[in-house]
């Protein structure tokens, strides 16, 4: 049975890559270039990406689920450029995935074992979900093994380990105080280097780009001190935020639904964690749901889901620590007067002129009233009249 499946898969894999992915050639090229750009690769690198994607060497992927909500998998499934299920099944050979597999029980355990032995030292391990450590990890078991045992066993012969989502990266939501299960990230359990792709869920392209990097270059992308790929997590959300100009100008939404909120002002005072969260959400957005769709774009403050110690730790409404620039305690008003207005001196000059003009005008009118010859007691005094105009 398993052998038949493999033959079917091999026949499928023999077809041109764009056909397998259900794309035109052009769409495929665009997709490769997009991934290369997401990775921040130099010009021309998309050719290498294409080559790697076209190759029939589909790396075997084993995907483990522990303490999580399967949101990461859901997020991947709803990606559309191309649909991730096509990529997951065609670009890689997904040999074990508890959510996506139709098989169950001993059948699926057999698939896991055979994938591990056949691709020893070459498969990629993806872990989704936190790993409970308290009481010897009894709070999460699959097929009688604890998450710790299972992770250690599969990771031992893996070529690379990727932790997807905040839970697998550092414990995420299950590790929130008081953390009853003692949930931790994958890197705490094993000795191998782990690439963390935090986010709740992370953008599927950040994961995909990491996999494709491995496919193309045979290694995982460079990472920061928290093992997050630099191409996606080297910049604060605050740096590229579409509302940044409002922050700099001191225009803030003070509560949900107020005038500033409706006008799209900065959400910092509503507790936005953009200033202390590293992620590329402002540039590639959240999920694959179309333009403008990421939390801050929709009017909700960032909760800092990619940042250990921020997401699921700090209350959503508390002020973020601004990492690149501490704001002043008070802000200038948004309606500063501009230009120069009335001065006492100018008013005095104007009043004097108006008075003189009115007096001179009255004098002229009176003199003229006395008849055509005019008493003319005002003399030339009347001549100052036009000055008032």
């Amino acid at each position: 049975m398993h052998q038949e499946l493999k033959e079917l898969a091999a026949a499928w894999a023999a077809r041109p890559v764009e056909e397998r992915l259900g794309m035109t050639r052009r769409e495929f090229m665009t997709f490769c270039a997009t991934l290369a750009t997401t990775l921040g690769l130099p010009t021309g690198a998309h050719a290498a990406v294409e080559k790697a994607m076209e190759a029939k060497r589909r790396p075997s992927v084993i995907w483990l689920h522990f303490q999580e909500c399967t949101g990461c998998t859901e997020s991947m499934l709803r990606a559309e450029h191309p649909t991730l299920e096509k990529l997951i099944l065609d670009v890689i050979s997904l040999d074990y995935h508890e959510t996506l597999f139709a098989a169950a029980g001993h059948q699926i355990e057999a698939a896991l074992k055979s994938a591990m032995t056949e691709n020893k030292g070459q498969y990629v391990l993806v872990v989704e979900g936190a790993i409970p450590t308290r009481d010897n990890g009894i709070y999460c078991k699959v097929a009688g093994q604890t998450a710790i045992e299972m992770t250690r066993k599969v990771a031992a012969d893996a070529a690379a380990v990727i932790a997807i989502g905040s839970c697998a990266s550092w414990g995420g939501m299950p590790a929130t105080d008081p953390n009853p299960t003692g949930a931790v990230g994958v890197h705490k359990i094993i000795d191998k280097p782990v690439v963390n792709i935090p986010g709740c869920p992370p953008n599927p392209y950040n994961f995909l780009a990491t996999v494709v990097h491995f496919l193309t270059f045979g290694s995982l992308p460079p990472v920061d001190h928290l093992n997050r790929p630099l191409f996606a997590y080297s910049r604060l959300i605050h740096e590229h935020c579409e509302r940044r100009a409002h922050f700099d100008a001191g225009r803030f939404a003070m509560e949900f639904g107020d005038e500033g909120h409706r006008k799209g002002y900065c959400l910092y005072k509503l507790g936005c964690k953009g200033p202390e969260t590293y992620a590329n959400c402002p540039t590639i957005l959240f999920g694959d749901a179309g333009s403008g769709t990421w939390p801050v774009g929709c009017g909700h403050p960032c909760i800092g889901c990619t940042e250990e110690g921020v997401g699921f730790t700090k209350p959503i409404h508390t002020l973020a620590r601004v990492k690149n620039l501490e704001p002043p305690t008070t802000y200038p008003g948004t309606k500063e007067p501009q230009g120069k207005g009335f001065t006492v001196g100018a008013g005095a000059v104007l009043a004097a002129v108006a008075g003189a003009a009115a007096g001179a005008g009255a004098m002229v009118a009176r003199n003229l009233g006395k008849g055509t010859d005019g008493g003319a007691s005002g003399g030339e005094g009347g001549k100052s009249g036009p000055a008032g105009n």
């Binding site: 120069k340 207005g341 100018a346 002129v353 002229v364 003229l368 055509t372 005002g378 000055a387």
Partner: protein, 386 residues
């Protein structure tokens, strides 16, 4: 000009050093001091101009209002030469003199307001000029008109120095300049209104209309007649002369006719555009709109009947109110009804006011000196023989 030309005008004579001329000189010196600072340290050192209000009182008072007040020459010339009302001829030279001074100083006044004034001549160079611009039209028209005014006024100068031959030659071509002197002010006075159309929604709806060129042109003519009334009265009072009621009375009647047509057009436009409602808002703009309207309406009360028009005081006040109306229309549409955006404010600085005063003082001083020494005003006493 008609053959009777020389007999009609004579210098007033008298001394040039009077308290009034002295006062004018003092104002001019103050203005010169402020201008020295302006030309050395720039506009920001003296004025309250800003990015929101790049045009302040120097443009509005010295140029827009100044040139409108100088429309007497054009308005009277229209009466004399186009409608062939020869009886108004004695009024033409004083009106021309006022126009000459008004326009010349308006042209000079623009220089004060130009940030990079040393480039002022660029607008006349074909390589720099932008013929599609309203501003270009105004600048070229006013410059040409200043030259034309000097030529139109030159017979008085030639008479003074006894250059009869030169004057005779000039008079042969004068119809050309009179024609130009009619066309040019009509062009640029209406264009001053078109300038505001370009401002778009920045101008309050009470003043922003496609009829602005017509409104500006009609009020320029009205101000022209009003300034003749005003000047004749002030000159009569100042020089202790008799007043030309026999000329000013029918002139005031013509003026009222134009004024009535103007008010019909002005309010008709407001009603058609549906903007009249904003005149009843409780704000500065509405207040100044009614002040302006009141000034335009006052002449009907002051000069409405033949008997009232015979009273020199009424002629003077009627002219004065009409002048104020025209001035307010320009002030309202260029500054008070100008809305560059929230929070911008402008009120002229002391320095700006001093310069504007100095410019008007210079006009008055020049008027006094020229009328005392050159044949400009109608010859006294005998002139009533008409």
């Amino acid at each position: 000009m008609s053959a009777r030309g020389h007999a009609e005008h004579a210098p007033v004579g008298g001394g040039l050093f009077t308290p009034v001329t002295f006062f004018c000189v003092v104002l001019m010196i103050l203005a010169a001091a402020v201008l020295a600072v302006r030309f050395v340290h720039g506009l920001g050192a003296v004025t309250h101009l800003s990015d929101g209000y790049p045009w302040g009182i120097w443009v509005v008072a010295d140029v827009v209002i100044g040139s409108a007040l100088a429309c007497g020459g054009f308005a009277v010339a229209a009466l004399v030469y186009i409608f062939n009302k020869g009886e108004y001829h004695p009024l033409i030279r004083p009106a021309l003199l006022a126009s000459l001074l008004g326009y010349t100083l308006a042209g000079v006044g623009v220089l004060f307001d130009l940030g990079r004034y040393w480039n002022f001549y660029h607008i006349f160079l074909p390589g720099y000029a932008s013929p599609n611009s309203v501003m270009f039209e105004v600048a070229v028209c006013i410059s040409l008109y200043i030259v034309v005014l000097w030529i139109e006024f030159s017979p008085a100068v030639l008479e003074k120095f006894g250059l009869a031959d030169a004057k005779k030659k000039l008079m042969g071509m004068m119809y050309l300049f009179i024609g130009l002197g009619m066309v040019l002010p009509m062009m640029h006075q209406s264009s001053l209104g078109s300038l505001l159309i370009v401002f778009g929604h920045q101008i309050h709806p009470l003043w922003q209309t496609m009829l602005l060129p017509l409104i500006y042109l009609m009020t320029a003519v009205l101000i022209g007649y009003a300034i003749v009334l005003f000047e004749s009265c002030v000159a009569a009072a100042g020089y202790r002369r008799s007043i030309e009621v026999h000329l000013l009375n029918p002139l005031a009647k013509v003026m009222l006719g134009v004024l009535a047509a103007y008010l019909v057009i002005r309010f008709g436009d407001l009603v058609v555009r549906g903007a009249l409602g904003s005149a009843f808002a409780a704000n500065l703009q509405a207040f100044f709109f009614w002040l302006e309207t009141l000034c335009f309406a006052a002449p009907f009360y002051l000069l409405g009947s033949e008997a009232k028009r015979r009273k020199p005081a009424n002629l003077f006040l009627g002219g004065l109110y009409l002048l104020l109306g025209g001035i307010l229309l320009r002030l309202n549409s260029f500054l008070i009804g100008y809305m560059p955006g929230e929070n911008w404010s402008y009120f002229p600085s002391t320095g700006e006011l001093v310069v504007t005063l100095g410019v008007f003082a210079l006009k008055i001083l020049a008027y006094i000196v020229i009328t005392r020494r050159f044949p400009v005003l109608p010859r006294e006493a005998r002139a009533t023989a008409h």
